[in-house]
Amino acid sequence: MSIFIDNETKVVVQGLTGEQGKFHALRNRDYGTKVVAGTRPGKGGESVEGIPIFNTVEEAVEATGANTAMTFVPPPFAKDAVLEAGYAGCDLIVCITEGIPAKDEAEMYDLLKEKTSSRLLGPNCPGLISPGKSNVGIMPHEITMEGNVGVVSRSGTLTYQAVLELTNLNIGQSTCIGIGGDPVPGTSFIDVLDAFQNDSQTEAIVMIGEIGGSAEEEAAEFIKKNVTKPVVSYIAGLTAPPGKKMGHAGAIVSGNKGTASAKIEALTDAGANVVENPTRIGQAIKDVV
């Protein structure tokens, strides 16, 4: 098993006709992901490299049996696109789009939760990959290998770094998942930790956080109570100057709340092995599996 996606995952790509959507959808397909459809209002009936385009997700789901949406739709239209995928019955919606207003994110999260049973991953996330099975998102699959370590992170590129550190030591991954750094992530650390804990393929977990917010502290609380598998963690931003906003909406440190040291302390207290440098993640996992 892996979490959230596997061999049965059938992907409909929202925004397949755009540059990014096309590049990554085709790359995912080359990897073996079942990319069965794309949507673009007004372009229904056309196709991109053999992938049929539909006007709506509902039509795509009906015709192809797609159960997962991957969204590359630009920010002004992203909320409606995600909701459309939810209302069409997609089990999982992976929203890659960066720069969605927080109000749209909050509203979309609320409506999905109330009216659908869809899981949203992101927005502003790299997606997820279950090596050897399926890649839904923008993660470079070349650096992954199939195995037993679950990786979860708030940061995209830092996820890749962690995965590479594992693969370099010949340690494979069950699922690698980036939850995104935006104010209202559809899937939280806790959701993913819970899924990894219950996944038979996953034997150990890598969790990568960063300064700002309190998601890592909440995750630490969850780990303490519910996670029995070994957890290795790294928190980015130990040397970031306080009060500066380092890019991510999430990465703001104000006062003592959300500092790297507060998070490291909480995770250490929860039994996680917190390394101070991302390049040590591989070795730390090797020590426990």
Binding site: I143, T157, Q161, G181, E210, E218, Y234, A236, A240, N277
Partner: protein
């Protein structure tokens, strides 16, 4: 983006939230005797830092002479490192009661949060800590919003003056409207006062969600009015996320998390970052060229570390940008490049075909950081 008080109050006016009559000036010459304000007039330093009153940045003038005198004193004043470049001249109010109200997004609860208290005019964190019962915290569903019954109940729960219930209810409703329709990360009024003229927002703290800039014409105007350090100006024009730091290792990376961790690794090797520079996701060649240009104008940079892990960003495009920026140039400092991920093979071969003696390719983040630290000595 945090707004100045006067900018926040402009938004209040747009949303029919009463504020005292005021004028905004950025020099003494703009203040004439026929300003139309009734004395006493409060002279308020426009700075984005707390505690300006205690620092002498707020003074009450009883006539024109004092107005000129106090304005002259406060303009140019240094308040905790912030130079006062403008003033809000505002009619003083007779305050009967002071309340606190704010709207923000509660990330943990994934819903909006209204905080309301009859104990305004003071540090609200202190109220929350010492008298938590005096602070009403109400979560609001983003899809359902805030209805008038809930507002009335909150006013009662917070024990605000009930003779002003209708007026307060309107103001609260409009503040919520501003928070949502105005795409604000934060709307805070402290104090929201009952004055001899009714309910009035005496201060404003508003922060805008810049992701929503595409649907608000006034965001750009506000942004243009907020001074930013000269070093960050150029980067901003190029849409780069740049923050100047004190060290000597210039950093260029993609993704906030990776760049932050690059800072951490540089620090572990005994170096210090000269900056934080995130080229973002899906950067093109010209983005990388611009990033190198930004660092060129930074005197403290002694070496440069380019740490790219391609996902949505393609390493071949990054390599093209590096070549474009450095080709045929006498480089001021060594550049250490680390490329991994999407199209890294193509990227590395582009760099190998365009060798430059000052550019070193490294195969790992750890080694690249070490080389960059050594190069900065």
């Amino acid at each position: 983006m945090n707004l100045f008080e006067y900018q926040g109050k402009r938004l209040y006016q747009d949303f029919s939230i009463p504020t005292p009559k005021s004028i905004f000036v950025s020099s003494i010459s703009e203040i004439t005797d026929n300003h139309g304000l009734t004395y006493p007039v409060v002279v308020k330093a426009q700075v984005q830092v707390g505690g300006r009153g205690k620092a002498g940045g707020i003074k009450v003038a009883k006539d024109f002479d004092e107005l000129i005198k106090f304005s002259g004193e406060i303009l140019g004043m240094d308040i905790k490192g912030h130079i006062v470049e403008s003033l809000l001249l505002e009619e003083a109010s007779d305050i009967l009661e002071e309340y606190y109200i704010s709207f923000t997004l509660d990330r943990s609860a994934k819903s909006y949060l209204m905080m309301l208290s009859a104990k305004g005019g003071m540090d609200i964190e202190e109220v929350a800590e010492k008298n938590p019962d005096d602070l009403i915290m109400l979560h609001i569903s983003p899809s359902k919003g805030l209805d008038s019954e809930t507002i009335i109940k909150s006013i009662e729960d917070a024990k605000l003056n009930e003779s002003y219930k209708a007026e307060l209810s309107d103001v609260i409703s409009n503040l919520y409207k501003l928070f949502v329709e105005g795409d604000c990360d934060l709307v805070e009024v402290n104090p929201l006062a009952i004055t001899d003229n009714g309910v009035s927002a005496l201060d404003s703290k508003v922060s805008l969600d810049m992701n929503a800039i595409y649907r608000h014409e006034n965001f750009k105007d506000f942004e243009n009015e907020i001074p930013i350090p000269v070093s960050e100006q150029f980067a901003k024009e190029k849409n780069l996320n740049f923050i100047k730091l004190e060290g000597s290792v210039g950093i260029i990376g993609n993704g906030a998390g990776l760049v932050m961790s690059t800072l951490d690794v540089v620090s572990e090797h005994g170096g210090m970052a000269a900056n934080f520079l995130d080229i973002g996701g899906g950067a093109k060649a010209e983005t990388v060229t611009a990033a190198l240009e930004v660092l060129e104008s930074e005197d403290n940079v002694k070496s440069v570390l380019i740490n790219i892990f391609g996902g949505i960003t393609r390493c071949d495009l990054v390599a093209n940008g590096i070549v474009e920026a450095t080709k045929g140039k006498e480089l001021k400092w060594p550049i250490i490049v680390r490329l991994d991920g999407t199209n890294s093979k193509e990227g590395l071969s582009i760099l190998e075909q365009n060798t430059n003696e000052k550019i070193t390719i490294s195969s790992s983040m750890d080694e690249a950081a070490k080389l960059a630290v050594e190069g900065a000595i």
